[in-house]
């Protein structure tokens, strides 16, 4: 009970900090936090595949970028498109992309799955590069109108104001993360962990493994698409090198892995660590990805459980806990 109270206080404190944040620091850091929250959602959707279902996706930018492009293109061509439908279009496009690719992907696992997702991601990159009349090729889609958040007759909030957009993005990302969190707590969420640990057993229990994988893939992709849509609205520019390049697929993997793929909130820690690192490195050098890559190699070599795993093991050493608790329960 006591620890529950501490937890509530911690959550309340985080909430207060998040609400006050844009008024305390400048616009620049407000946008950094928006970026961090978007990437947290993105990394969590990837971890739903990697950490929970045991599927390593190298092409997650397909959904992130697909969502970003869909939102950007929709806002360019449909005059007067409201904000929420624009974001939903991003998510739905990603769901459709997941629906199209899943029949092939659910049949394979392991490295073949990783390679196929990589191929699909690159395919999307190439398509967006070649069909210039729709996607603008290398220049991308930019300068589209950002609609205000409106409830007809009640309120209309300007989203080009960074502070307003900060609250909007935080709510969208927060709700999405909450939905995914509830999803992992449902019986179905337990089945996908079963798919990771012993797919054959899940199959014997009467669940169809390919269908299960496909559903996880669609949910993960859809929310990655929403993250992409928020990213498009934040940058007001979507380009192949910005959202579909292979680094954008590697980024959530690195975030999830550095934070710890064994826990639900690990990817958020990873996103925070990489975002802070990014800000620090840009002060000294332009080659951010060099340092990121080196850090990633070191983490994979020396802290394979990630940041949350490291915390858990330290906690276990300090306060000797029963060790039969799985890493999943500890962190969530």
């Amino acid at each position: 009970m006591r620890s529950k109270l501490y937890l509530w206080i911690l959550w309340a404190a985080i909430l207060v900090i998040l609400i006050l944040f844009p008024h305390v620091v400048g616009i620049y850091y407000t946008n950094v936090v928006v970026l961090f929250s978007i990437f947290s959602l993105y990394a969590i959707t990837l971890n739903l595949l990697l950490g929970y279902t045991g599927l390593l996706s190298f092409g997650h930018a397909l959904f992130f970028g697909g969502g970003a492009y869909a939102t950007a293109i929709a806002l360019t061509h449909i005059p007067g498109l409201p904000l929420i439908p624009a974001v939903l279009i991003g998510g739905l496009t990603a769901v459709v992309l997941a629906l199209i690719t899943s029949p092939l992907l659910v049949r394979v696992s392991g490295t073949a799955f990783a390679m196929l997702t990589l191929a699909f991601g690159q395919l999307m990159y190439v398509i967006c590069l070649k069909f210039r009349n729709i996607t603008g090729g290398e220049d991308g889609v930019g300068g589209f109108p950002i609609p205000p958040f409106t409830i007809p007759g009640v309120v209309s909030i300007d989203m080009t104001n960074p502070t307003n957009y900060y609250y909007f993005a935080l709510i969208v990302v927060g709700l999405s993360i909450l939905v995914i969190w509830f999803f992992t707590k449902t019986p179905f969420g337990q089945i996908i962990i079963g798919v990771r640990d012993n797919a054959q057993r899940v199959s014997y229990m009467g669940f169809k493994v390919p269908h299960t994988k496909a559903l996880v893939f669609i949910i993960s992709g859809g929310f990655a698409g929403i993250a992409g849509a928020c990213y498009a609205l934040l940058q007001n520019l979507v380009s192949t090198d910005g959202v579909l390049v292979i680094y954008m697929s590697f980024l959530p993997i690195m975030m999830a892995f550095i934070g710890g793929i064994g826990s639900f909130f690990g990817p958020i820690c990873g996103a925070a660590i990489l975002t802070i690192l990014d800000e620090l490195i840009t002060m000294y050098t332009e080659r951010v990805e060099l340092v990121t890559g080196l850090v990633f190699i070191l983490v994979v070599m020396f802290v394979p459980a990630g940041f949350t795993g490291l915390l858990a093991s330290i906690k276990e050493k300090l306060f000797i806990k029963s060790s039969d608790q799985g890493i999943m329960e500890q962190a969530s």
């Binding site: 990697l50 390593l56 190298f58 092939l104 049949r107 394979v108 696992s109 392991g110 490295t111 073949a112 990783a114 390679m115 196929l116 990589l118 191929a119 699909f120 690159q122 395919l123 190439v126 398509i127 070649k130 069909f131 292979i246 680094y247 590697f250 993997i253 690195m254 892995f257 080659r287 990805e289 060099l290 990121t292 890559g293 080196l294 990633f296 190699i297 994979v300 070599m301 394979p304």
Partner: protein
Amino acid sequence: MDSTIAMYVAQFINGMAYGMLLFLVASGLTLIFGMMGILNIAHASFFMLSAYFCHTFLELTGSFWLALLLAPVVAAFFGILCERFLLRKIHAFGHIPELLITVGISLVILEGVKLFWGTEPFLVATPKTLQGFIWISDLKYPIYRVFIVGFAFFILGLMALVLYKTRLGMVVRAAVSDADMVNALGINVPLVFMLVFGIGTWLAGLAGVIITPILTVFPGMADQIGMDAFVVVVTGGFGSLIGAFIVSLCIGELNSFGIQFIPKLAPVLMFTFMAVVLAFKPTGFFGERE
């Protein structure tokens, strides 16, 4: 020979040249995969690294042949270092960390290249002896592309000779199918792994040098061929050299004729080909395992 047939012949040789180059890269990738079970994401990065070394050696010595000799060896040396000090250390953690560390290596190589050589592209001149054209009947065709096909066939023959006629080749082939058994027979498998990794990166490095005169050297050059090589390995079947060879040539021709007839959809063709194959046989043409 009328011009349509001439075009077909020219495109066919173009496709052949690219297919053979692709095979040089993909063969190393598939060997490494077959043996260690790792799909080396950084493989194409060594290809790029070698192209950059070639550029530097050319500036220093002016001899393309010396660069062809040295650059792949230096790239292979870096590959061996990665195997010895990174991959081997985490072999016990399982396949996902191994795969991820190659992602890290590829990022570091890419950014390292940008750091040392900058981001602007370099052009490498065709060596003097291979400049000019040959006439096939009345079709004028650059010698260099014919040289690529010949050279790749030469390396291929050399590799086949080593793999199928020597004791070392026997050990390598045995280790590809069952590393534990070979280890139990008293053969130093980690050493064989290191050697195969080195040879694999050397082959990719050779392709990297050979391709420089017909391609600009720039930081993104690994992406295209790396992607194609992955598709080759997946479609041909993991660990299968024969599969890699056949699919390399298919994709070379697909690319070449695709660019000629449907330029917009050319990159999509390769993926469609892969998707069709995998829809019927998820392990690829000659693959036994996933």
